[in-house]
């Protein structure tokens, strides 16, 4: 499903974020990427939706080579991915419901169909009764769940989350992790970057440990 082969990513100025990175994630797996801040977790996650391109090596996502992908093909790659960002990127000029509708606006769903899907996604994360609220009025945990609803509304086969439990209290964090687990149980490949050691220990999943851009054995 996702395969990195000898991937190197260096930014302008010579900072090397990832170095000789090779691993494969099978379809339906749930994998945690851990490591300290600056270890390259976010960069790794950004390579998969082609937000960043590898400097060398190959990144394959569902058989597509990210390094050589045309810019025009990138949106269609991203529609098959559910992205949860570290800074959330919720739009505060519209309601919770309209935030979830956003990914459906450009996939050609009829409004009725899209609304039904959006409500189903909100229901899954327990925010159906807040659909008219403005995201800014939600609690931290609710905002994170809204991000998840937006990420899954297109029914992606891969879910990518960058620090989804940062800034959450332990019970909210546990809720969020449980959601990821339930998506994984229905066959979604889940990739979570975190430095929350407690969460990793509790779940005992497969872990890719990064240190200074390399995988630690």
């Amino acid at each position: 499903m996702i395969s990195f082969n000898q991937v190197r990513k260096s930014y302008r100025g010579g900072h090397e974020a990832l170095c000789e990175l090779s691993f494969t994630i099978e379809s339906g797996e749930m994998v945690f990427i851990t490591g300290r801040s600056g270890a390259g977790k976010s960069t790794l996650l950004k390579l998969i939706p082609a937000i960043e391109r590898p400097t060398s090596g190959t990144v394959l996502v569902s058989g597509q080579n990210i390094g050589s992908m045309r810019a025009a093909a990138v949106p269609f790659l991203r529609r098959n991915l559910g992205l949860i960002f570290q800074d959330q990127k919720l739009l505060n000029d519209r309601s919770v419901f309209d935030n979830v509708m956003l990914p459906l606006a450009f996939t050609g769903h009829a409004h009725k169909d899209a609304a039904r899907r959006a409500r189903a996604a909100l229901d899954k994360v327990g925010l159906l009764d807040r659909e008219k609220a403005n995201p800014i009025t939600l609690s931290g945990g609710e905002q994170q769940r809204l991000c998840i609803a937006r990420a899954v509304v297109n029914r992606p086969s891969i879910l990518l989350a960058d620090e989804p439990t940062a800034n959450l209290d332990s019970s909210s964090a546990a809720e969020v992790v449980d959601m990821f687990r339930s998506f994984n149980q229905v066959g979604v490949t889940v990739l979570i970057a975190t430095h929350d050691e407690g969460m990793v220990q509790r779940l005992n999943p497969r872990v890719l440990k990064l240190k200074e851009g390399r995988l630690e054995p």
């Binding site: 025009a72 991203r78 529609r79 991915l81 990127k89 739009l91 956003l102 450009f106 050609g108």
Partner: protein, 301 residues
Amino acid sequence: MSTWLRQHWQTFGLTLARLARNPVATLLNVIVIGVALALPLGGYMLLQNLGSVAQQLTGNPQISLFLARDADKADIAALEARLKQMAGVRTLRFISREQALEGLKRSENLSDVVSALQTNPLPDAFVIESAGGAAELEQLEAQLRALPKIAHVQLDSAWVKRLDSLLELGRMAVLILATLLACGLVAVTFNTIRLQILTQKDEIEVSKLIGATDSFIRRPFFHLGFIQGGLGGLAALAIVYLCMLILNRSILELARLYGSDFRLSFFGLSDCLALLGFAALLGWLGAYMSVSRHLSGIEPR
């Protein structure tokens, strides 16, 4: 195809809603565009009206053909036959010297003078109405001069030419004004769209991240430019129409003094639609330039 249409329709509705959410800003933009377009549009309307008046005045330019004193009846008949066959002669009227004198006698100021005359000093004459424009008229005049038994050819086209060239000058001025203000319209739209892109920076960034194509992201801005241009065109038509109504009050008064019922008339439907289309197209162009310039700068990191 139906998806494409539906997306356009949805975008159109969303764009209208967005404009309605900021009524003051929208109104100001529309007024700026409307005033800019109203200037050349008003000038064009005045020219059109003046042009049609000039057409009425000079619609049947006349040439007076005065015959030599020694022309006899046979000469006149021969001349008449030749004139009738000439191209450019639409109507032909013969005024004999007796008729001309009668005419003079009937005019109040001159009757005394005329009756004091011993002999009739007036020549026979033909009055020709020509169908052609100024250039053909001159050509006809040259032909007429070459005819035998002609004493004088009188052509009243100098002032027609002057009016024509004056109108031409006006048209050129309006064209230049229109071009400049069309550039202004494009610039206004360019800037509006730039600001709109900046306000929607977050939305654009998120949309790109979750799989919106570039054409989807551009679309609402094209719609915005198009709608704003069209509304500006509508405002321009309204402004010119109002001005016309106000001017017509005074013009009607003035025209009545001259025994005329002249008044300014407005554009026809097709002209109005053409203007709206043109304004909308300019708005679209401004949006296109702005989007090409500013949207590529927003790339999520």
